[in-house]
Point group: C2
Chain length 190, copies 2
């Protein structure tokens, strides 16, 4: 079994998504996921704390990327430009080859109220982390919160579009266009 | 007891907040709240579904007000101007005489992870309702979602400031200033 380990997390994730879609999130056990992936239950728990983490585990890495990018943005950047740097920094997480599995994940989450709530709370945590990172740069409130929340809204809207059934544009293209719409929103207002 | 009924909901709310602050939300029962307010438990349940509703019951009225204001905004208004109308429409919910009890409510919610999550989810529901109301006006996505989410962020930030310990500005003044900051955020961006 050891020689299978390198790809185990990916296989477990793929099998979990298929099972969640086919029979529901609640009805699927870690044991079933492990069996479908050809590994032991122990191997499952070496990679994931529980079956929910299969769906949400990636968000810590996203948050770290965002926060690091805020720290690395040019000193001269405005708060919204800093947030744009953060958004840009993570687009490789959403490469086209990951779109099919992100769509499956979206289907699973949409079908389950508890998972939808968890997704919302994760996004709130992401906004909070971005706000703190802006504070670290010396951006005061309310500007830091407004910029961070706006950034996470742009990310969420872009992500939802990216996994929509007929969407073919890259995540990067979509996100830039949503950010442009956000900028227009205020420019057109009195 | 009947002659006390008219003010019962207000008294129940005031007693509940005091008990939640003094002994914790989890540790307080509906019976204790009723006793403190000098009414029966049955009276409590005539006004509130459960003790959580004492804290969150007002949000349905806020949401209705927002949605109605979106529908009533001038045809010529831009999406962000429509959202500004919605925000303006509800400032009487946050009159200065309500600030002390809103501060107590904030203390109770800040001390309890489950209540903080519920508050976040209520705000997400508010943004969703605003988005739908903008769709009704013919505003397409992503603009509708961006405008609605921005509006709810402005509201949240303004509300947090309003209940901050040393804040003396009116809710209306704070909210206008936060909205102005939001507009500047994008105007300064390239």
């Amino acid at each position: 079994m050891a020689r299978w380990e390198p790809g185990a997390a990916d296989r477990l994730r793929a099998c979990a998504l298929e099972l969640f879609v086919a029979q529901g999130f609640e009805q699927t056990t870690a044991t079933e996921i492990a069996t479908a992936a050809g590994v032991t239950e122990r191997t499952f728990y070496r990679h994931f704390e529980d079956k929910r983490e299969v769906l949400f585990g990636g968000q810590e890495a996203l948050q770290r990327r965002f926060v690091d990018a805020v720290g690395a943005a040019p000193v001269s950047a405005t708060p919204l430009e800093v947030v744009a740097c953060a958004l840009d920094s993570a687009t490789d997480f959403f490469a086209d080859e990951r779109r099919p599995s992100s769509r499956l994940r979206g289907t699973v989450i949409a079908a389950h109220a508890g998972l939808r709530e968890r997704e919302l709370l994760k996004m709130a945590a992401l906004a909070h982390a971005l706000t703190e990172a802006l504070h670290e740069r010396g951006v005061p409130d309310p500007v830091a919160t407004l910029a961070a929340e706006s950034g996470v809204t742009v990310f969420r809207v872009a992500f939802e579009s990216w996994i929509a059934p007929d969407e073919e544009r890259s995540f990067d293209d979509i996100q830039r266009s949503v950010l442009a719409e956000l900028t227009l929103l205020s420019k057109n207002a009195t």
